[in-house]
């Protein structure tokens, strides 16, 4: 067993945003074992104050370039709740298809580009091009499908423009939906190949189980994505259901000195949100084809291995494709109908809970009689997972020490653990830094 360990991963790579892993062991005693998030608050809740309800989703969409659809849907859904707007079944179905598109797009990105290098023993996706070129090409093909799937419904995938309070500003044609349906079914062989790829490297996923609480949106009769209620499940199968309006007492936000990001807790000291939580809570509502994949990949509820979150994302990709095909068939059978926007019936407060790729996203707004926002609160899923990552660290580090793991192996396992949660901490910079050579 190592007596002295000094792991200081400053800005972990292949996660979205900035987080640090710090572990110090001296003479066999663990002195520091922390998941740190050193990023700045961004004050979007303040930015939307004074804005008209028609503008708010346009602003909150900019919180994230990956989950722009989720922030848009969470925003319009909370605004509609505040304004007494009941959208049509067609709007709801189209939004569900759009939500599936975003989850699919993000999951493909995470599993293939951010997680797969660890499973193949590579530093990044670049070294995989010569050795596993077909896997990388497949990843981009699937990712492109997700992008165009979302663009068809949302006008564009990043910061969708057609989704507004009360409905859609433009609708896909029946022909567009038929074409999308074909493309989704054409992707099935690539999804099957994805399952084979994951199976081929499944032994690289660490065997680490730590029972916790899993939180997800619950909708009657279908896999929860938005509206309905919130449900949590413990490792022993014990369930608790909550109204979305009670989100503050479910999340119980608090601060820790090691992090500038808020943490959350509910029945235990922390809980998990995201694909694994959704599968644990909503397993029975998965599409049968997705259930087959879950069985093939060894994912059964209640799964308590956080590394399996990436596997749950693959299962959700399959679910999203088949569910969207089913929903498109429903729309085509009913016929796409041009509908006006449903108008407000009151001005008050409203809350939404939407399942974005990394877990539940809560938005909460109040509006005055002129439709101007007077108060906003957003709780993002990554913050809900920080406490659980920390609790995992505290159990995993002693286990790794006991097992005689090397410092490099410990660093890799801890990095993989954080990546498994697919944290999206916030946006960092992308500017170019170049020298002219001609």
């Amino acid at each position: 067993m190592l007596q002295n360990v000094d792991i200081d991963i400053h800005h972990l790579t292949r996660v979205e945003g900035h987080g640090n892993i710090v572990v110090n062991v001296t003479d066999g005693t663990i002195e520091t074992c922390e998941w740190q998030v050193p990023e700045n608050p961004r004050f979007f809740e303040a930015m939307v104050r004074g804005r008209h309800y028609s503008e708010v989703a346009r602003i909150t969409s900019r919180i994230c370039g990956i989950c722009a659809v989720g922030h848009t849907l969470a925003s319009v859904t909370a605004t509609e709740a505040a304004l007494g707007i009941e959208v049509t079944p067609q709007t709801r179905t189209l939004r569900t298809i759009l939500k599936h598109a975003e989850n699919f797009d993000s999951h493909v990105l995470h599993v293939y580009i951010l997680v797969a290098p660890d499973l193949f023993g590579a530093q990044s996706v670049f070294p995989l091009i010569p050795t596993h070129g077909e896997v990388v090409v497949r990843a981009l093909k699937l990712k492109r499908l997700g992008h165009e799937w979302g663009s068809l419904i949302g006008g564009r995938t990043t910061h969708p423009v057609t989704v507004v309070p009360g409905g859609f500003t433009s609708l896909p044609s029946a022909a567009d939906l038929v074409a999308l349906r074909e493309r989704l079914l054409d992707a099935v062989p690539d999804l099957e190949a994805t399952v084979e790829t994951i199976l081929s490297v499944a032994d690289q996923l660490p065997a680490f189980d730590r029972p916790t609480e899993y939180m997800a949106v619950k909708e009657d009769g279908q896999y929860g994505l938005f509206t309905g209620s919130v449900e949590t499940i413990l490792a022993d199968g014990d369930r608790a259901r909550y109204d979305i309006e009670d989100y503050r007492s479910i999340t119980n936000e608090f601060m820790l000195p090691q992090s500038t990001a808020k943490h959350t807790k509910n029945r235990l000291r922390s809980y998990a949100a995201g694909a694994l939580a959704r599968v644990n809570v909503n397993y029975d509502q998965l599409h049968p084809e997705a259930k087959k994949v879950a069985e093939a990949l060894g994912l059964t509820p209640v799964c308590t291995n956080p590394y399996m979150n990436s596997v749950a994302q693959v299962v959700e990709c399959v679910h999203s494709v088949y569910e969207s095909v089913r929903l498109i068939d429903e729309l085509l059978a009913e016929g796409i109908v041009e509908e006006g926007l449903v108008q407000p019936t009151r001005f008050g407060s409203g809350v939404s809970a939407v399942e974005v790729p990394r877990g539940i996203l809560y938005h909460d707004y109040s509006y005055d009689e002129n439709g101007l926002c007077t108060r906003a609160n957003c709780i993002i899923p990554t913050n809900q997972n920080h406490g659980n990552i920390q609790a995992d660290f505290e159990e995993l580090v002693p286990q790794l020490l006991e097992s005689g793991a090397s410092e490099d192996d410990m660093a890799l396992k801890l990095s993989m653990l954080v990546r498994a949660y697919d944290p999206c901490i916030s946006c960092s910079t992308h500017y170019l830094d170049v020298t002219f050579v001609r």
Binding site: H11, T13, R14, V15, E16, G17, N40, R42, M47, R62, C64, G65, I66, A68, L109, I113, L114, P117, Q123, S124, V125, F126, I129, G133, V136, V137, L140, K143, R144, H147, E148, R156, T157, T158, H159, I425, S426, C427, S428, T429, H430, Y431, L432, D433, V434, T435, F436, V437, R438
Partner: protein, 151 residues
């Protein structure tokens, strides 16, 4: 199809210049004969616009080029080498040059790409633009639209 693609992050002060130009081009209806797209977050999404139906592409981003703050320059990706040191390719740890390298290594056909680099005055975790870039914003719009002949 011709594309104007703005790159950056709204939370990076002058790193948002590409996004803001793409937004404003669309808002003013200057996007005639081309599509203006803001691409924050995941740079890999740029690959979705590499296809046989893409005639050419202008990608706008803040760029440390050694020019005076606010100066801009059009150039080809082949004209420069990156000074950034990255472990690989990720979503929020991005570099445009890495995306081009990634595409080339994969054998993806890269359409004719021109970069419009704008030297930032300040990159910081803030919304907005520095006063230097704000003062020249209309000039950038005219230059970008002029690339497509619609200024």
């Amino acid at each position: 199809m011709r594309y104007l693609i703005g790159i950056g992050t709204y939370m990076g002060l002058d790193d948002s210049i590409g996004l803001r130009i793409a937004e404003e081009i669309a808002a003013r209806g200057l996007d005639r004969g081309f599509r203006a797209i803001e691409l924050p977050g995941n740079l890999l999404d740029l690959l979705h616009y590499f296809g046989p139906d893409t005639a050419d592409m202008l990608v706008i981003d803040s760029a440390r080029m050694g020019l005076a703050p606010g100066e801009y320059r059009f150039f080809s990706p082949d004209d420069v080498v990156t000074r950034k040191s990255l472990d690989g390719i990720s979503t929020h740890e991005g570099d445009l040059m890495k995306v081009f390298e990634f595409a080339r290594e994969l054998g993806v056909a890269v359409p004719p790409v021109t970069l419009m680099g704008i030297e930032p005055a300040e990159i910081a975790p803030e919304m907005g633009l520095s006063a230097v870039l704000e003062a020249r914003f209309d000039e950038y719009l005219a230059a970008a639209a002029g690339f497509f002949g619609t200024a």
